[in-house]
């Protein structure tokens, strides 16, 4: 039996993805896999995505690239050359997983096909991540995060009802590519489990469009079961019928998102009413009609809008942190609306180890990185190494994985293959 401190210690991954799939390799690498980025001599284009450390635009200072390539290794290889593809094939023979996100069957056209390589390594799992999948009329269409989230459905559910005439909105932050990468990771691991049992490899065709289309909650059922397309509403759930605003400004300028209200039990209902009464006369809410909102989930618009106008007044008169903590203390799942950096100030996430210091032993100043998405008690998530510099692992990988000699490597460098 092998000794495994990390869940994927036994797995070697070749990572040829661009921004569409770069997160997949990170998820595997931070769980212990040996993930080797294979980059063109000029570097993966993700190295040019901002923001940059100290605003210094170099291929080693993209914070986007730093975040998405932790725990990986980097080698250079010009796969647009015959020699380069030949070397890539040799690496595929030694690897467990190949991740790629090329358009238009680039690797196949260069001479690397699953059919052929699986004869030399039948255990190889090849995960191809594309905008729309490898087949079908859109298979050569060009995706971007904006276009992926538009075609896939989320954008149609996001927007402003209080600003009529405005377009639907696309959330910032690469959420479309993340969703594709989540499904790529799931699919790859499923194939790995199947391989654990059968020793068989797999070719996987992941469609970002389908991944996003599977992530739109009640929008599909609303159409399929009621032939309805929901309205977009400012900062809150899409809905067939309008619902009261959910975001309210506090005295100090912060914002609270109200949800799970009215609560599901009379105990919390009473505590909410008591709190509302502290700031205003709300005796009309103390009637049986309003109590039905809890007892039989009555959602008559009149009742909902009235209740929420009281809640709005309450929140307007108080500070954000107070509202958040008090609501939570009486079991109301309200949240305050934070900008990403606000979470750095919340001790809770430091206590849980979401932020980790990845500085080397001999460095005095800590280097804090986000962030563990899960806590395992036996096989921990860990940033094993900071993002690799371009080609920093050429010698190690080419010597140890492919048994190249120093002069082999020199020759490849001279010929600009690596």
């Amino acid at each position: 039996m092998i000794n495994q401190a990390y869940a994927l210690n036994d797995v070697v991954v070749l990572d040829l993805t661009d921004e569409k799939g770069v997160y997949t390799g990170k998820l595997l690498a931070d769980m212990g896999a040996t993930v080797i980025r294979i980059e063109p001599l000029s570097g993966n284009k993700t190295r040019l995505i901002g923001p940059f450390f100290m605003d210094n635009v170099t291929e080693e200072s993209s914070l986007y690239d730093w975040y998405h390539n932790t725990s990986k290794k980097s080698i250079t290889l010009d796969i647009s050359t015959e020699k380069g593809i030949e070397i890539l094939k040799e690496l595929c023979v030694k690897a467990d997983i190949l991740l790629e996100s090329f358009d238009n069957d680039y690797l196949e056209k260069m001479g690397l096909t699953y059919q052929e390589i699986s004869k030399r390594n039948s255990k190889l799992i090849w995960t191809a991540i594309t905008g729309f999948g490898k087949t079908g009329p859109y298979s050569n269409y060009k995706t971007t995060d904006l276009v992926a989230l538009s075609l896939g459905g989320p954008v149609a559910s996001c927007g402003y009802d209080h600003l009529p005439g405005n377009p639907p909105m696309c959330p910032d932050g690469w959420a479309g590519y993340y969703t594709g990468s989540h499904y790529a990771t799931i699919s790859t691991l499923v194939a790995l489990l199947y391989r654990d049992m059968t020793n068989e490899g797999q070719y996987i065709d992941v469609s970002i469009h389908e991944a996003i289309s599977s992530s739109t909650e009640a929008a599909l059922p609303m159409y399929i079961y009621q032939n309805a397309v929901p309205l977009r509403q400012t900062g809150r759930h899409h809905s067939i019928n309008p619902t009261p605003p959910a975001i309210y400004k506090c005295k100090d300028g912060g914002m609270i998102h109200v949800f799970g209200t009215p609560p599901q039990d009379l105990k919390r209902w009473a505590m909410l009413l008591e709190w509302i009464q502290e700031s205003q006369d709300a005796s009309e809410l103390l009637t049986p009609k309003y109590e039905e909102m809890v007892t039989i989930r009555n959602r008559e618009p009149d009742l909902m809008f009235t209740l929420f106008s009281y809640i709005g007044h309450l929140i307007n008169s108080l500070d954000t942190e107070y509202v958040f903590n008090r609501a939570q203390s009486i079991g109301l799942p309200w949240g305050l609306i934070r900008s990403p950096e606000d979470n750095v100030a919340d001790n809770h996430f430091w206590e849980r180890g979401f932020f980790v210091d990845i500085s080397r032993e001999n460095e005095d100043t800590p280097l804090y990185f986000p962030g563990a998405p899960y806590i395992f008690n036996k096989t921990p998530w860990r940033i094993h190494a900071p993002t690799p510099q371009l080609g920093q692992d050429n010698n190690e990988i080419y010597k140890h994985m492919l048994n190249f000699t120093d002069s082999d490597i020199e020759k490849l460098k001279t010929n600009k293959i690596i």
Binding site: F132, S150, D172, S187, Q202, A218, I224, R232, G335
Partner: protein, 418 residues
Amino acid sequence: MIFNHNDKGQPLPLSGIRIVDLTWIVAGPQTTRIFADLGAEVIKVEYKESPDYIRGAPPFADGISGINRSGFFNNLNRNKSSLSLNVMHPDGMDVLKNLISVSDILIENFSSKVLERWGLNYEEQVKIKPDIIYLSLSGFGHSGSKQDYTTWGPTAQALSGLTYMSGFPDEYPSGWGYSFLDHTAGYYGAIALLLALHHRNNMGEGQSIDISQVETGMALTGTYLLDYLMNGRKYKRPGNPPGNRARFDIVAPHNIYRCSGEDRWISVVVSNDDEWGKFCKVINRIDLQKNNLFITNELRITNQDVLDKELEESLKHWDAVELMHLLQKEGVSAGVVQNARDRVTSDSQLKERNYFQKIEHPEIGTYEFDGFPAKFSGIGHRMDRSSPLLGQDSKSIISDLLGYKQEDLDRMESEEVF
């Protein structure tokens, strides 16, 4: 290892994995939906007095509410079984413990500490099944000062930073129009369980996994967190969020424009001068290509307000679908803002790849379901059972799987244990 097969004769890779599924609402059921689709035996444990909240959530088939009639529930819980159980009754707890003893995974998404109150924390589970894999999905996780806070999708995404990152600058956040983070937390749940299964295959041991839904959202803000940690730059600053324009203003045009017809919109991303020329030709605006205000990407960014006005004027006369195809054929990234109706009825890519599949439900009839977003060469997913009627499998699980005698079954039935 013998695998079950789907109706195409493909092996189901997670055959033989049994899951005690104590989850409800969306995030947990999303995790177990993936497992059920890929062949795992997912036993959904529900209490009749308060079954899964989504059973009471619209849309309902034919607009008629009922415990087995929610389309939203049907979509999330296909391919699963249902065991109704009162775990507050000693016999009910006995059944649950016996079920754990023959299962691989236990998953719950209650508020933290619920299972501890039941006397079923991880240590107790291990006594029943030494290699059990236990996954908890909660709002803030099982450690840290906010561990008792509760969240639903919208509040968790508000706290994580994701809500703030969507919308126009100086406006309310438009946020996510639904619980995007319920899907995402569900994906991390699936990734975590697959990792733990691989580790169990290697080492023969199970483990306990703690996921905070808020942290899964924060993981998606990593680049912006680094910008703050490394550069001290906040996301909350003038100009953010960027609306539908490119973050950091790297390319233009990058926006969503109105097209002809009711609520029709198209997303367009032009990433270089070559694409700009092709774009202008397709929309019959050679004058824009020749206009000195727009001849380089830099100029298009500088003059974005004027440019967007011009494009709004031009594109509003176009049919969104026709324009998308014309632009994509020229290599320009463009996509219709598709709602659920578009995806189900007119998306030729989803149609060609058989993304939607029908399943018959015994009470409400046959409906379409979104499929699994990846295709595998040697394995497959199934779409053969609709969501379970509440408690439909109780008797067979208790007697056939767990070996209870008829007299026990009768007694438990009369005491409403299931």
